[in-house]
Symmetry: C2
Subunit: 361 residues, 2 copies
């Protein structure tokens, strides 16, 4: 059966090769006569899966040994409070760059633990862009500087990391663009991502954290909420989301086969260019995100009216393009074209867009 | 390819019918041309999955409307602190029945929030039995009474719920025997289980909680840690472990096809009887768990020596029986025979046990 062009914002499309591997592994993993879902997390075969997933992750992103690579659960929403709970002392300040709904949620949770300074916000223009460097007002001595590297809902993306004051580490929610391009992990203290967009299924969270930070939590916490618990036990303190870890490993290997992060970035740029070119080719469409802030992962756009937007989504669905309806806070359309999304889908959508504009423009 | 008899304590064997359904759904779910891993949690197809999983769960266990059915993550280890964080006020007391390593962990986390009274413990005899009713010393006015319905490591199981003082609700970690027999949910305030033994894969936790308790949390907590957050949003506050929820729904439907909880209990009793009969047939083997406390889920036993135990595990592995090594705190062997484990595997193991005893006895 042929598969639909799936523009879902997440959970999102996965590489077909990985899906085929998963189908086989569910019945029998590694010739053991036991499926991947059924293997003990304490047994040799699964321990090897965890080790390989971590090794592939380190290779893919060039993660040095002084960083722990953790496979947790609860999504970015859990990291919103787990990060400050572990690392923001009472009375200390963390700086947050507010570029969308997810940044706002991260701010709300951090406020339970310490002071939050909003170093910049783009709320005034419904988060249609990334703040310019000269708009950012850092606080005196923040513990860390938090940003959301890609804003799924608004279709904006940082082209490079913000530069906090000297000695201040970056914290980042990279859920919707993790491993879509090369990254210098050493600028980060904590880098986290729900897997369900670029690196796997829903239900597993990748957390990359500097080991020296893990070793000095700022308050006593339940065992499961301490980064140190999971770092010490190699993500096997309790039964982990084992299938998610397996699948993430398969996606990392697939990404390496695409030429690693440099290779995948090239493909992502080509794919996004096809859609941004289609937007620029006619005045019928307008992009939500401003130039210089446009995401390579989520392309947000609209037609001249909400009625035509609805018509577009319906006609696209009928033509085999799924998941194009924009988030309610932005309206219009959103084409999510994560790593695994094929260029052929972008080309087909661009052609559909051209036809739709010709018919309704 | 034929599958191994998998006695893993968890993640554990799943029904073959369910694995076959999952294999197909990974490529294409419901004819949409999109796999189950790739469906948006906000889209119609997945919303239907959540609704159906909840409906099957309610039907299977007779769960009334005044209970919320939540699909969370983080396993029972997360519930160890989430339960008292939500429901044990500062200075108040909860009673815990300590029957093994998992009960002890639950106690340790609860102590962060309130007072813990150990109403009974079987630690003195390495948790080889369940406390008798006349051994239990309840505190004056506990908020709740917590127990572990089945002790995976030790192979003991409560034959029926403990009876706390009038007006006190039960809290239960049912991870390793959930839905293995009929249950009267109305005796419980909170019933929780990691899915990976009887009801699904690792990475999703079932929490059944009385709605009036959800509506009165005793302290302010991060959004993700409040039962109320997930109850209000039907487990869709954030991106949930979607594949785990799907698979759990398939397992619930499979369990209904086995005759529901009464039907599955009958099968479980027959399966366990085969192994306990094999133990009783010779003085070569001894059971860890005392009579009257023996689990239908995990059968723990040993040979006359640690050397023979090791030989048994190795020979069994070679004969196609996987996962029989006992937990290090008990030693010997453990045969985990959850709902999905076939009776044929118990019969085959009993025969192997007889042969091994004849050869080495």
């Amino acid at each position: 059966m042929s598969r639909t062009f799936n523009f879902s914002a997440g959970p999102a499309i996965l590489p077909e090769e990985v899906l085929r591997e998963a189908q086989a592994a569910i019945w029998d993993f590694d010739g053991a006569g036991i499926g991947i879902l059924e293997h003990s997390h304490r047994g040799g075969p699964f321990e090897k899966v965890v080790q390989q997933t971590e090794a592939s992750c380190r290779k893919l992103a060039g993660i040095p040994d002084d960083y722990a690579v953790l496979f947790l659960s609860g999504g970015a929403s859990t990291q919103f409070f787990m990060l400050p709970a572990n690392l923001l002392p009472d009375g200390a300040t963390a700086d947050y760059l507010v570029t969308g709904a997810w940044s706002e949620k991260a701010v709300a949770e951090a406020k339970r633990y310490g002071r939050v300074h909003e170093a910049a916000t783009t709320a005034a223009t419904n988060h249609d862009r990334i703040p310019r460097a000269n708009e950012i007002r850092w606080s005196e001595r923040p513990v860390y500087a938090h940003f959301t590297s890609n804003n799924t809902i608004f279709g904006t993306q940082w082209t490079s990391e913000p530069t906090p004051p000297a000695g201040v580490w970056l914290a980042c929610d990279a859920s919707s663009d993790i491993f879509s391009r090369p990254i210098d992990v050493t600028r980060y203290g904590v880098l986290y991502a729900g897997a369900q967009k670029n690196i796997g299924p829903a239900g597993v969270t990748l957390v990359i954290v500097r080991r020296d930070l893990v070793e000095r939590p700022v308050r006593d916490l339940p065992t499961m909420l301490r980064y140190g618990t999971h770092a010490k036990e190699g993500s096997l303190y309790n039964t982990p989301p084992s299938f998610g870890i397996y699948l993430m490993g398969r996606v990392f290997e697939w990404t390496l086969r695409q030429g690693g992060l440099a290779g995948i970035e090239k493909k992502n740029r080509e794919k996004a260019q096809v859609l941004y070119d289609a937007l620029a080719a006619t005045s019928f469409y307008s992009a939500h995100a401003g130039e210089g802030s446009r995401s390579l992962m989520n392309v947000t756009f609209r037609t001249p009216s909400a009625e035509l937007d609805a018509k577009f989504v319906k006609a696209a669905e009928a033509a085999g393009f799924a998941g194009l309806k924009g988030h309610r806070s932005v309206g219009g359309m959103r084409a999510s074209i994560y790593n695994a999304f094929p260029k052929a889908g972008c080309v087909a959508l661009a052609s559909f867009m051209q036809d739709f504009a010709a018919k309704h423009g």
